[in-house]
Assembly symmetry: D2
Homo-oligomer: 160 residues x 4
């Protein structure tokens, strides 16, 4: 199997989410896998589980970059658990490993990942996510999408 030229798309969102957000993340994961991209996520519950589940339904590959020190922490849809033991510091790895990120709703963890992606010039696509008003200058370049499919196709365009 040749994976090394596959795009890597990160999905960022809360471990505890509403059913609507879960469904949206599930659809995002599905389209990521359908497009031939690898799904990168934090490996746990909520948005991370939903997106990995969607990706596996489309026969994709899923990577879960875990905060704790055991692979048992991964949700059942993760193919490759990366066991960091770093706590929240692992958010920086989620971001650097992704060529673009899709932020879906999200709480403070996802906000930290949006911020790090913007800092590292990694494109950010937003689905019903944070609105950020900086202390000075222009608001950050979060590309808003209206649907899961649009979010994924936008991420792929930004990677290329």
């Amino acid at each position: 199997m040749e994976l090394r030229h596959s795009p890597r798309i990160g999905v960022m969102g809360s471990s505890d989410c509403s059913p609507e957000t879960y469904n949206l993340a599930h659809e995002v994961g599905y389209w990521i896998a359908r497009s031939g991209a690898i799904l990168i996520c934090g490996g746990r519950s909520g948005v991370m589980e939903a997106s990995a589940r969607g990706a596996k339904e489309a026969n994709g590959i899923t990577v879960g970059i875990l905060p704790g020190d055991s692979a048992a922490e991964a949700n059942p849809y993760i193919d490759i658990p990366i066991v960091t033991g770093l706590g929240n510091a692992r958010n920086a790895i989620n971001v650097l490993t992704s060529q673009a990120i899709i932020a879906i709703s999200g709480s403070y963890g996802a906000l930290s990942e949006i911020a790090l992606a913007l800092k590292c010039h990694i494109p950010v696509v937003g689905l019903k996510t944070w609105r950020l008003i900086p202390p000075e200058g222009d608001p950050p370049q979060i590309i808003l999408a209206e649907s899961a499919e649009e979010a994924v196709s936008t991420a792929l365009t930004l990677i290329r």
Copy 2:
């Protein structure tokens, strides 16, 4: 010298800032040291340098948690350089090491630190900083301050 009961206040802000922001950070550092607290910061230029400089002028102690792999990267007002070699992942350490943080203006790095502090239930005081509108629910608890002295006294009150 007894330092272990001293409060630890983190100052978060950009390595590249306006003269007004530099002056504000300088004043924040001064009041942190005057109150007997230890200054935690990222150890580099801009807001980090200004606050450490202010703290040294009031005879305080300054800790710089550096992203690179050399202590030479520290600004000249850092007493204790912590050399992490972790890049942006060190932001998580800045936050965990502080009992409260004061965010001064700030770009994406500071935004990631605000997010991580909110996630870890570490109080955040804001001086002319980011305004954050969540996808759902109430906006995060960033306590706004109008002056350097007010920011420091608020941080100390929140720590106790």
Copy 3:
């Protein structure tokens, strides 16, 4: 593809190695893939490249946990680059992500990984590697192997 029940074996060794060591690592990678396990390594040159190359020749899956902040640093046989930006601190992730490690010859980086694996109770198989004499008590449990194939079959036995 179902990967999540595949064993994960880490290969630790120097980025700069002799032709004999390169060949040995190449063979280890080959047997890891043949056995259906996923290869975990540091993603760079020398032993890491040789083992990933061997694994790809047997149609396996390779993960490279990189120290720098760019996927371009990965050798051409890495399927899934994990971009940590953590420098040597990423060695702890190599170890935690592996269910057993095979140390091949190796310099100080590999020595740090052997030490962390022993600390975390992750089995260590050694091929022409460090000999360690502790300040007190018994020497550490590094299982010595004589060939690449034996090293891999020993690692798999220790995982099960």
Copy 4:
């Protein structure tokens, strides 16, 4: 107080040690502080506690770089707790922050720190510590000392 030109010496050793090792580490900490150096350690029990205690008895400054996510984990002789939340990955920070390290006896954690220091060209002084026999080439440059005072004076000479 001017600390920024003070040397920084790391003390590495086990969290669980014999009374003899505890006494030796206590004496090392004392001489570090007497020489005007800052003590860097992992902040916990055993060798880390003993050395910090010795340093405080000589009125020195102690920094504890903690693996967990709470400053409460620090031993009572730590002035400045650095709360990393990184688990064993924080060992890399202990090493990079020190200009020389003194390894006292020690288990696998200390062994990983010796290895990382050797990799990063940070001088290592050994007191009753690991003996390391490499797979090829010369054994690593661990400078052996016979007493606490000699270990500290050797470390200082190597820093200058």
